[in-house]
């Protein structure tokens, strides 16, 4: 099978990755047929299951569509007027692209942490409590805020200055604040789009440790441009690529599997090249 797949891989315009069938339960079953921005076909034919309580890492070169696919999982791309999605994203068996689904509700269950830390221009406390208020939570706010900040490993640093502006924190702290804000409402899934790209190595390590802890409670989808990060935290890895040499600009899934397998025994030549290129 692997030899056959490799011969197909040389012609990338036709290539469709073998769907990965995870052993555990999945929370999101994403089957992308086509994603367009206007007339531009950004991503095609990619089946990406996201497993429950695991970290699914999305890797690949720039422009391969990994962020686009991740942002399709909670309909963040709907903010872009020319965005068009063909395919299905089944979240607990419901297609979130079905016509009567409210994207606002989807985003409440599937939270998101962005590339750039983006706290609101309000106090640390209000940032974390934002989602709770939004969901009309009736209960002990202080407790929930503290719990979220503790989970985000930020509580010790900010417990004495909860009234300060969220913007007064350092970059790494801001990103952990955004994580706390995202998990305060206890969403089901947390999507993280290159959450460490604006952070220094120390802050990056803190956030990575945090992800491993969050896995206990949440399901995580992680886009990263950093392959080491994928090996450090990813349980499953999806490798996307875009074949620029042939003039194509459309990204697609090349290979998906347990992280160890993708990195140590990749089935596709493209994956092999990419993984080696980064390591040697």
């Amino acid at each position: 099978m692997s030899a056959a797949a490799q011969t197909v891989a040389t012609d990338t315009a036709e290539f469709i990755a073998e769907p990965y069938q995870p052993e555990g339960d999945t929370v999101i079953d994403c089957d992308v047929k086509k994603i367009f921005y206007g007339d531009f076909l950004a991503v095609r034919d990619s089946v990406v299951p996201v497993e429950k309580n695991k970290i699914t890492a999305f890797i690949g070169p720039s422009g391969c569509g990994k962020s686009t696919v991740l942002r399709s999982l909670n309909r963040m791309n709907d903010l872009i007027p020319v965005f068009r999605f063909e395919g299905t994203v089944n979240y607990h068996g419901q297609d979130i692209y079905a016509p009567n689904v409210d994207p606002v509700v989807v985003r409440r269950y599937i939270g998101m942490v962005f590339q750039q830390p983006n706290p609101f221009s309000m106090s640390i406390y209000d940032n974390v409590a934002f989602g709770l208020k939004l969901n009309k939570f009736k209960g002990n706010y202080d407790e929930k805020v503290q719990k979220a900040l503790e989970r985000a490993a930020l509580w010790k640093e900010v417990k004495d200055k909860l009234k300060n502006s969220g913007l007064s924190l350092s970059g790494g702290q801001q990103q952990r604040l955004c994580i706390a804000r995202a998990i305060a409402t206890e969403p089901d899934v947390l999507l993280m789009d290159e959450p460490c790209s604006a952070l220094d190595p120390i802050a990056t390590r803190q956030v990575e440790e945090l992800m491993l802890e969050l896995r206990e409670r949440f399901t995580v989808g992680l886009v990263t441009h950093n392959m080491q990060q994928a090996t450090r935290v990813g349980d499953t890895t999806a490798f996307f690529s875009v074949d620029i040499s042939k003039g194509g600009r459309t990204g697609y899934l090349v290979e998906m599997g347990p992280t160890k397998q993708v990195f140590e025994d990749p089935q596709q030549d493209l994956t092999k090249e990419y993984v080696r290129g980064e390591f040697s």
């Binding site: 979240y91 607990h92 068996g93 419901q94 297609d95 079905a98 509700v105 989807v106 269950y109």
Partner: protein, 304 residues
Amino acid sequence: MSDVDLTATADEGLVRPNLQRQMFEGRAIKNNLLTVLTWIIAILAAIPLISVIYMLLMRGGTRLFGAGFVEVLTALPPAGFEMGGGIGPAIVGTLTMVAIATLISVPFGIMAAIYLAILGPTSKLATISRFLAKVLTGFPSILAGVFVYAVMVVNFGYSPWAGGIALSVLMLPTVVLAAEEAIAQVPQRMKDAAFGIGCTRTQVIWKVVLPTGLPGILTGVMLAIAGAAGESAPLLFTALFSNYYIESLSAANNPTASLSILIYNFSGMPFENQIELAWTASLVLVLIVLVFNILARLFGQPKV
């Protein structure tokens, strides 16, 4: 979508979330109501404009676009019960005074902008002038008239010069701020290139900065002119009003007509003819203002 899936996840203790759009849920209702309200407000805001334009065309347009348009544009204003008449002196007066104001405010304004944007952008003088220029843009225009009255009219009487200078006081800050912005947007690399081949600062400004920033500067100047042409309060007691054409720019005590003061004076008259002329003058004034606004947009468009 089918109910069968539900059990699969429910077994694991996960409540399957309802993602359906809830049209009549509180949040959705609130969201839609606010959107409708915003649309209503936006459309309501357009009504006065449409009404003004309609009135200008219906009541002012009959004369301007009718057979007697030459008379309207050239004749002297009618007195009392007289029929006919025109707004010739007012058109000439407005254009003259705006020209005077432009000739004064543009050179001073651009030179000041050069200082603010290039020569000493962070100096104390620049900080203060910039701030005062901004304060002056919000300055009641009638006070410019009061000021010029006290300085000039008391000594030399009413004149187109007094009117023009009062208008230039209002134009100056607009020109300064627009020109500063246009000049500041000239890329540093262009200036560096000119300095790099040994230009003096004056040469950099004349040969690189002003030509590059010219479209932006002209946009600012055109907008300032459009604003000045429509002004009336500063002319009330500097140019006063006259029923006749300007005969000389050098005569002492030389009251001068303007479109805006003509509109003001005629608006309160009990004669239908004068009221109609006020509408005609309004249409002409709005057209003049529009021409300069359109020019401002044309200059503002980046060159392809």
